[in-house]
Symmetry: D3
Amino acid sequence: MVAIYPGSFDPITLGHVDVACRAARLFDRLIVAVYAGGEKPGGLFSLAERLALAQEALVPQAGRNIAVDSFSGLTVEYARSVGAGTIVRGLRAVSDFEYEFKLAHMNDHLAPEIEVVCLVASSRHSFISSSLIREVAALGGNMDGLVPPHVGEALRERFPVCAGPLPAGSHR
Amino acid sequence: MVAIYPGSFDPITLGHVDVACRAARLFDRLIVAVYAGGEKPGGLFSLAERLALAQEALVPQAGRNIAVDSFSGLTVEYARSVGAGTIVRGLRAVSDFEYEFKLAHMNDHLAPEIEVVCLVASSRHSFISSSLIREVAALGGNMDGLVPPHVGEALRERFPVCAGPLPAGSHR
Amino acid sequence: MVAIYPGSFDPITLGHVDVACRAARLFDRLIVAVYAGGEKPGGLFSLAERLALAQEALVPQAGRNIAVDSFSGLTVEYARSVGAGTIVRGLRAVSDFEYEFKLAHMNDHLAPEIEVVCLVASSRHSFISSSLIREVAALGGNMDGLVPPHVGEALRERFPVCAGPLPAGSHR
Amino acid sequence: MVAIYPGSFDPITLGHVDVACRAARLFDRLIVAVYAGGEKPGGLFSLAERLALAQEALVPQAGRNIAVDSFSGLTVEYARSVGAGTIVRGLRAVSDFEYEFKLAHMNDHLAPEIEVVCLVASSRHSFISSSLIREVAALGGNMDGLVPPHVGEALRERFPVCAGPLPAGSHR
Amino acid sequence: MVAIYPGSFDPITLGHVDVACRAARLFDRLIVAVYAGGEKPGGLFSLAERLALAQEALVPQAGRNIAVDSFSGLTVEYARSVGAGTIVRGLRAVSDFEYEFKLAHMNDHLAPEIEVVCLVASSRHSFISSSLIREVAALGGNMDGLVPPHVGEALRERFPVCAGPLPAGSHR
Amino acid sequence: MVAIYPGSFDPITLGHVDVACRAARLFDRLIVAVYAGGEKPGGLFSLAERLALAQEALVPQAGRNIAVDSFSGLTVEYARSVGAGTIVRGLRAVSDFEYEFKLAHMNDHLAPEIEVVCLVASSRHSFISSSLIREVAALGGNMDGLVPPHVGEALRERFPVCAGPLPAGSHR
């Protein structure tokens, strides 16, 4: 059985890696599907960068049944086009849940034959979101332990000025 | 007793129609009040279009006590100007509720004589929101069953390229 | 138009009075319907006491269109039997909302012709619940300002030992 | 791959049937596991009755890969004892989610090799809970459309006095 | 400045210890106040046991400014009687928050001079609650890593039959 | 002990003043830290204006241990640079809570030695947010009672056209 795990992955986090690895044990094949849609406000990495970061993060540790792909358009159309019967989503918090709830019902309207399956993020990843990571990394926060090492590296390259601790008094 | 049911209605959905028809049974007269405010980011239809779509959706099925109007400025000022003592709101989910809660208290501060009344959307409409409909219709999703037929038509005209199912493999 | 405002009212609070008075302005007649069902765990006042406390709290200040009654069985059956087309509920917090949501959908299943209307409790009453009042009054907490004066009196009679401040050191 | 779908099923509802049938498409074998634990306050049907009602509801419509069983003790221990690697849970609302979140993390602590997978209940079942059904059926509410027909029959047998509409005026 | 950290502590968990140690760094003196109130349904350890378990868990690791005490009656009265100006509460999840919100407003009504301060539980403790621990330990679940070692020992003594893994097939 | 109370304060509200004054009683010194970061969409007052409005609102009524400062970069770096061991946050509603939860865990990741302390906003301020105030003031809503008088003045100066009630019929 084929499943897709769609998202922006801007950038991929250890929470995403955790969900993907667990999903890969449930399904014969898991496609981590990076959304190629128009530039979102607040976006950081290009599609090519997001694909490369996800590829490097996922393939080594998750066995041979994980692939990384990009898609545009409706998620359910992409799922159909690759023969996937399941969409995997990670749940972290109540606000996630409400959004996933709406999305799951919309997907059920669009493609009732495709199942949405939610995995609860492990507790030590439950506060990690790509948007918070972008926001904090831009201010020089160290993201090691929240993202894979090569993603931490990419964040430091993207925000070189702030990469070290701010000099004392620099806040004025 | 006159009530207003304010919103952006961009576009009007079957959930809106359901709330409006139920409100029209509670009050002598219901004004569906389309907000004419400045362009919101992510907005789709012009004020004239939103008014026309709402008019066509509501008047036939809700009896003679529903009117469609537009307004700008504070909702409570509009309510006062048309002699309405009640503002009707639809509730779908927790996130709605929190926002409505803040808004109800703010309206109570601004105009304590005007009552806010919330109707719970019926369960089959509880996942429909105009913003999700705009987002999914833009990607070619079929909104029939979620919006009135003429709104589905207007969405297909607005997003002609995606109106049919995507050809297989078109996601790459 | 007739509406009912059902509840246990054990005891009636200023939050209930606020919701009832606002509902009485929306409908021709409002029946505050005290649930007579079997003893709930944690219940405090008898049905007769709850009726009397509600009566004294509501009738003087809300005009002539409020009546107090008791009922048992399904709320929608009671509504039908008194010719009420609307059930009024007060909303205070998210946990309320979820319960009301389930209840509203259940009532829609049982009696689609009866409308459920929610009023948002005013912010200074939003933290008051009968169960918290029973709990705190039992420990001697002063409930003046949260319940009508005669209800505060009834609570002090019910919990005479704790009615004053605890003597210093009494906690061991 | 074997999965279990544990619960009290007191009684089984159409929401449970929906989740079970969808889970049965995801896994090679699904065991609907009825909790045999000590009598819960508010419980209605005996273990034997709950098993029989679930059996009758599930086996016909879900193909040959669904079995009904009972268990006591820890859910993860039961999962291990039947060789199941996955626990299926249905999500309906935010309050569900918080509880499932805590439970998923606890299960991860107890048995990290067992995955918890959540399916979002379809919107027309999202307000159905066994506890609300017990409560409303006890007052004579008609549960047809929310539970399978034979469960509705069992509820009417259990609450014979209230099975019809209450006679007018019976609320006093 | 003196603060109290009130609760049932039935039993004390590593989440409680975390909150207490962090609170002890904020205040001159912290009193962990074990509620001595009437037996709650579902309660496990006696007051004397809960006090002893808390004492052993807290005093060694938190320096000399933590004391353990018991109290009955209103929390704010106890705070006044020991000269505490602050009540410390731990926050884990949304459902906690709603309850704490109501409680904080009630305490503000009863004793406006006493401040309520909430500490967010660390993410690896956010799913631990005493009630879940009692429930799972009663079924033989291993609580090591969620409670201090001597509390795990006390739970195993209390539930000796289930302390080891269940024998295969024991679920019938 | 030094604490910071960071925020955008665009503009400072009576809810902020309430939290700041209560925090000032808990700590030896409180720095209200106005975020100087890049222009946010929807922002209203400049950094200099926000600082001046906060200064005028806070210093007179909160004793000599409150200072107002601005900062940029990471909040925890600012806290370190001024020797603060505590970050104060106000909690109003569930949506606040979820965000604060994520932020508290992120701060714990970045600077485990710095404690995050949440104060529950008093119930009459729980619906006030700077963003809602900006939105409503822009439409001419009177913010007296929600913000300090000089902030109300500043809002009226900023939105002079709408400062009075809209003329009847002006909504078309």
